[in-house]
């Protein structure tokens, strides 16, 4: 068997149609989308089409979609940009304690600059309480940032209620939708979303590109100054091949959303059920989760040992987060939802992709069973 990949939440391969759309913009078409000549105009047209496509997918307007280098830049821009622009109103920001490091570390950076951050606690399944949010909101609160789907445990937040509450209290609401965009139908108007981070490489598009949705009327200080691209809000020559890859990937998923998600969920549930027959496992997170996500606790084993064993057997999964040197730290999300350090260390995350086969899943179950049995002896 070729190596098996079950880490789609980390990154995804390019779908063929995506690559086909991208290639001409790396070869035949190379103008700078900002140039006034025909080479530039051709590129600019493509950027414009991608922008409109993405806007339509989320019921936003084309001039509310901004292209950035990825989910991390989107999160950084949303938090830092709003913080800077609305500091006259206040310096209090509310986030959850299970956000991605791109949000958490940005919040910490703002703390060092004098902003006050409230970290709402997720419950044992990863859900944020609306009551707690209500109580946390103050007169000087300028931003609420709660992620749509959690990357580690797949839990889906009640964004509609959170959005509504923020709208009522007139507080800007940002959601990191990096794991949600492409997998969940998102209507930014219906959900009262003011800013939304999206990423391409989670949905079978290229790395190095993402989007930030910014509702019309929101003031936001730029992160990148320079040329006049993106309505003078985000400087930098357009990564046209990336942009068209991003929109094509999004289109492919959304035009077939229910079928693809059903398939994905079936496979995920199959994996879970067959594993349960052989090994004593506990699922981390909520029943209402991303269709491909499976985070499990296997008592008595160490996640990093299991990961290495699986890697040596040609199977790729994930656990915790890698530190800068590459050793694994227990997931802050698992710790936040109440697992002990030992339990967090005994957990692994497997995520199903659109190209996962049942044959692969059977092999994984066999190998995982074999390894766990040996480790528990």
């Amino acid at each position: 068997m070729n190596p098996i990949y079950l880490d789609y939440a980390a990154s995804t391969p390019l779908k063929k149609e995506v690559l086909d759309k991208m290639l001409p913009h790396m070869t035949a078409h190379y103008g700078n989308a900002s140039s006034i000549h025909s080479f530039g105009r051709k590129q600019n047209q493509t950027v414009d089409q991608s922008r409109r496509l993405l806007a339509k997918l989320i019921n936003g307007s084309y001039d509310e979609i901004y292209f950035v280098s990825g989910g991390t830049e989107a999160d950084n821009w949303a938090l830092k940009g709003i913080a800077e622009s609305y500091q006259e109103k206040g310096k209090h920001i509310i986030v959850s304690n299970i956000e991605h490091p791109a949000v958490l570390n940005t919040a910490k950076a703002l703390e060092e600059k004098g902003y006050e951050i409230t970290y709402l606690e997720a419950d044992a399944e990863g859900l944020i309480s609306l009551e707690a949010l209500k109580e946390a909101i103050r007169k000087d609160t300028i931003l609420v940032s709660i992620m749509f789907v959690n990357n580690e445990i797949g839990t889906i937040q009640d964004i509609k209620s959170i959005g509504q509450l923020c709208r009522e209290r007139e507080i800007i609401f940002h959601t990191d939708a990096v794991q949600a965009f492409g997998y969940i139908n998102i209507d930014v108007k219906d959900l009262n979303i003011d800013l939304m981070s999206m990423s391409s490489h989670k949905i079978y598009g290229p790395t190095g590109i993402g989007g930030l949705y910014i509702r019309k009327g929101i003031k936001i200080k730029s992160l990148l100054d320079g040329g006049a691209q993106e309505r003078k809000r985000r400087a930098g020559t357009h990564h046209v091949s990336g942009i068209v890859g991003f929109s094509e990937a999004a289109k492919l998923r959304y035009e077939n959303l229910n079928a693809l998600n059903d398939e994905m969920q079936k496979k995920r549930n199959y994996l879970l059920e067959t594993l349960k027959k052989n090994i004593d496992i506990k699922v981390n997170g909520h029943i209402n989760r991303h269709p491909g996500s499976l985070n499990i606790l296997i008592k008595g084993i160490k996640g990093d040992t299991l990961l290495m064993n699986l890697d040596l057997a040609g199977i790729a999964v994930s656990a915790g987060s890698a530190c800068s040197s590459g050793s694994i730290n227990p997931s802050h999300v698992l710790l936040a939802i109440g697992l002990s350090k030992e339990e967090a260390k005994a957990s692994i995350r497997m995520t199903i992709g659109d190209m996962t086969s049942y044959e692969e899943l059977d092999y994984v179950v066999d190998k995982l069973t074999e390894i766990v049995t040996r480790l528990l002896k």
Partner: protein, 360 residues
């Protein structure tokens, strides 16, 4: 069932473990490279190429070697265990007026214990390092053995006296048979393992600026008060800066002049005194060793003649071992310089590592 063809090698990012990994691969083993993350230094505070084992650059070096050798490579965090078994003891020893040798504990509890457990969990029978030593099995004694490396200047067996039979049985040390370190470096160059011209790391991996005093002070809440320098007769000679600043045999850095060279003879933590004396006062023939481990036999019964050394850098010297409850009395034929509590006394029978213990 553990695979005897599979070995996990600890890779520090240095030339020794790099070449050791290469040699094992050439010998046909299935090699898995692991860098142990033992210590988290504040990354901002020292330059990337300081070279301390746990610096990002050394992990990257190890990773590149593993890529070159086409072997799997992982970084594993043993920081908690390292603090518990090595660092805490290091600090306690200094506070007790001893001079510890932490590499000995690291070998016993981390490299040949935690890393060995990891090896087993990956199905590998063996753990390997780039240490200079020769692992073997002596049929006559029916014991697994460690002998001095061929390259005498680099022999590291002093640090291995505390290993058990179980540990030695599962260990491979491919560099022990090389005649010179230069040979090892040449292999690294020939095979383009980029660390060939890197300097050997000399300091402790967790005290990269070599400032043990700073380290101990930063990691303890216990006060380290100044106290009295006294001579061997008890006369007060002056004031010392705190017992952790000194080690037995030390001449420089005492902070006072006496007209003639004075040496640290003894450190007395109970009275917070440091005893100074002449050079002759620094020599001793007898010492007691605690926490003793023997490799070539199980327990010491009758008095045993062998050679011993009281520090890593000295030559061995003839001595006799006498059992004393669960400690060993070591009597050297000739007086030894600067017998230092906390350091190890290690015994040899020719090239064979016999065992050792901690000097009381």
């Amino acid at each position: 069932m553990l695979d005897k063809n599979k070995v996990v090698i600890g890779m520090s990012g240095g030339v020794d473990s790099a070449v050791a990994a290469y040699v094992l691969k050439e010998q046909g083993y299935e090699v898995i490279g692991i860098t142990m993350k033992l210590w988290e230094e504040d990354e901002e505070n020292y330059a990337e190429d300081y070279g301390g084992c746990c610096s990002l650059s050394s992990v990257e070096d190890a990773r590149l070697v593993a890529e070159k050798l086409e072997i799997p490579f992982y970084v594993i965090n043993y920081n908690e265990q390292f603090i518990e078994t090595v660092v805490d003891n290091f600090i306690d020893e200094y506070l007790s007026g001893h001079t510890p040798s932490p590499c000995i504990r690291c070998n016993k509890y981390i490299k040949f214990d935690e890393l060995l457990k990891t090896a087993h969990s990956l199905g590998a029978y063996y753990v390997a390092t780039g240490h200079y030593g020769i692992v073997g099995y002596n049929e006559g004694l029916d014991r697994y053995t460690i002998s001095k490396s061929q390259e005498k200047r680099k022999d590291q067996t002093y640090m291995m006296y505390s290993l058990s039979q179980e540990q030695i049985k599962h260990t491979l040390m491919p560099l022990g048979v090389f005649e010179t370190k230069e040979e090892v470096r040449q292999i690294a160059e020939r095979e383009d393992l980029i660390v060939a011209r890197k300097n050997d790391s000399q300091e402790l991996c967790f005290v990269i600026d070599d400032d043990y005093v700073r380290f101990v002070k930063e990691h303890t809440l216990k006060p380290i008060p100044k106290g009295k320098f006294i001579d061997t007769k008890g006369n007060v000679l002056g004031e010392h800066q705190g017992i952790i600043y000194y080690t037995v045999g030390q001449r420089k850095g005492l902070g006072i002049t006496f007209g003639k060279p004075m040496y640290v003879v003894e450190i007395r933590p109970k009275t917070n005194e440091v005893v100074l004396g002449d050079n002759e006062d620094v020599f001793r023939s007898e010492l007691i060793a605690k926490e003793v481990n023997f490799i070539t036999f199980d327990t010491l019964e009758a008095p045993y003649k062998c050679e011993g050394k009281v520090r890593y850098s000295s030559k061995t010297s003839p001595c006799t071992l006498y059992m004393m409850d669960n400690k060993v009395k070591v009597v050297f034929d000739e007086p030894q310089r600067a017998v230092t509590p906390g350091q190890a006394v290690v015994f040899y029978d020719g090239e064979l590592l016999v065992g050792g213990g901690i000097i009381e």
